[in-house]
Amino acid sequence: MISLAGRDIMHSWGKFVFTGMGLGLLIGVTLSMAGIYRGMVDDARVLLENSGADLWVVQKDTLGPYAESSSIYDDSWRGIRSISGVADAADITYLTMQVRRKGVDVRAMVTGITAGGPGTPGWPPYLIGGRQITRGHYEAVADIATKFKLGERIKIRRNHYTIVGLTRRMVSSSGDPMVFIPLKDAQEAQFLKDNDAIREQRRRTEENSAFNRPGVPGLLDAIIASQSINTYVNAVLVRVATGHNPDEVAESIRRWKHLTVYTRSQMEEILVGKLIATSAKQIAMFLIILSIVSSAIVAFIIYTLTMGKIREIAVLKLIGTKNRTIVGLIMQQSIALGLIGFVVGKITATLLMAPIFPKHVLLEPLDSIFGFIAVVMICILSSIISIRAALKVNPAEAIGG
């Protein structure tokens, strides 16, 4: 038996291909949405992975440093370092801000890293060009997504930094590329005020009789000095020594330092479950809407195509065609339309949308397989209305009268 659906498609291939392409663009958007969600999750995991930490020590009762603000003293790491099972501990600050380059703003997560070397928690684990930061001030390593070049000068707050190294896939959970600078610079940048504000603060402190006491020389200077320095960091990243259980080490830090400690799995849960949960819900909603729209479009197209063949279907039924042959004709066409749409959609998502989309789009093969199954299921379900209409056609319609 010949394939009636195949012959019909070959006969009006232009209509099928163009309709399939239109559907494909919609499927491409759907796949890209799934890819954006995967990209967000991947960014969160990469952020944790690349930090080189096993534990995140943050301000007590906060979800910091990514989901909530967190401040702990910048010397906390010393005490943490002395706890059994801690191999290394390092301060870290995160500040998402606009970094200026030649008058153009680039949104980036400025990360303050402590002095050390490759392997120190918080440091970029690898470079694709240049070198790591070796000086205590005004050097930066940037993710390539910032489009900064080696040797280029960028401005963070009032200070200028030279890009000495470039790294890759170092992004925040919201996809902003990271710029690493020395910790002290980052601490300063976090709370740096403009000169007028500093002068105003000094004036107010001087006018405060509690701080400006004639009988206590040096008090005012000490207070003013303390106002212009930042002794806080957002978190301490801890690497656990080999052979130690991160949960046990975390419990020790909690008990002795009165701080909140998160293990990697807990931090991943915070990032994926809380930080990007709203975005994930929005994307899921978009996916549902796009799936419904795709279904409606397939159903409408197949219904229109079927109604255009109603006389032929009546003739086919009159000359003894089995219902399953007619069902096959409609369903195969619907699936073929879905297949064309899926191929176009996959190509669109992979070659067109993923490379140019401003966020990381991660197209997982498993998502494509699920997408393919969903498209086939949608096509089968969408053809039901048309099949019902076709099966209702009375063969007597071919005779007329």
Partner: protein
């Protein structure tokens, strides 16, 4: 009722019930022998289409008997379980418009019926091509319906009606869209095919051009058939 061809005795068809019931066929009696082409003529609303649908096993009569060849197919109820197979294998249809499947070429339009009956594609196509020479469409075997003239399309439709060698063909105004010359050609072909394949052909028509060609005519009026001898003119 042992004669072959198609025989109809006392067939009735009522639509609806009670006060709104319409008796479309009141008493239909017909017999068309193998190799014979008869005309079925009647004004609009006389019951022609209803009769054709009953004969074509598309709607069920209310009462009567119908025989196809030696088989009693209706006796106050269908005696055949698979009406779809009955239509496919034992009744040929030729419509007012050819109603060819637009996405199949001429060969597959005709071969579709044997294929539906389960024959292998190659065998079905061979069976279809055997008819093409007789119908003078051999050279159009690979053409698509849209590439054919009206006359050629109707000849393909006749081939489709004949391809399973049914004992009866029901032709519903097969010459309506054709000019006189082509209409006569179609009737000539139907007569030739009826002779060649011993098929009983019933042609429902209004077409004044072709009515004189029938040797026998059934008139239907108010659901009742009357037999009349036709002129049986030559097709030239």
């Amino acid at each position: 009722m042992t004669e072959k061809g198609i025989t109809i005795v006392g067939v009735k068809k009522r639509y609806g019930s009670g006060d709104t019931a319409v008796e479309a066929l009141k008493n239909v009696n017909m017999h068309v022998a193998p190799g014979e082409v008869v005309g079925l003529i009647g004004p609009s609303g006389s019951g022609k289409s209803t009769l054709l649908k009953c004969l074509g096993a598309v709607i069920e009569p209310t009462a009567g008997q119908m025989m196809l060849g030696d088989d009693l197919i209706y006796d106050n109820a269908w005696r055949v379980k698979d009406l779809r197979a009955l239509r496919r294998d034992r009744i040929g249809f030729v419509f007012q418009a050819p109603y060819l499947i637009p996405f199949l070429d001429v060969t597959d339009n005709v071969a579709l019926l044997p294929m539906l009956a389960g024959k292998p594609n190659a065998e079905a196509r061979k069976q279809a091509r055997e008819l093409f020479k007789a119908l003078d469409i051999e050279h159009r075997a690979k053409a698509m319906p849209s590439q054919l003239s009206g006359g050629e399309q109707q000849r393909v439709a006749i081939a489709r009606g004949l391809v399973n060698r049914p004992p009866v063909i029901l032709a519903d105004e097969p010459t309506a869209p054709l000019d006189s010359e082509r209409a006569l050609a179609v009737i000539r072909i139907l007569n030739e095919m009826a002779q060649k394949f011993a098929t009983a052909i019933i042609v429902v028509t209004h077409d004044e051009k072709i009515i004189p060609t029938f040797k026998r005519i059934y008139h239907i009026r108010d659901g009742v058939t009357y037999e009349e001898k036709g002129e049986g003119r030559s097709f030239e």
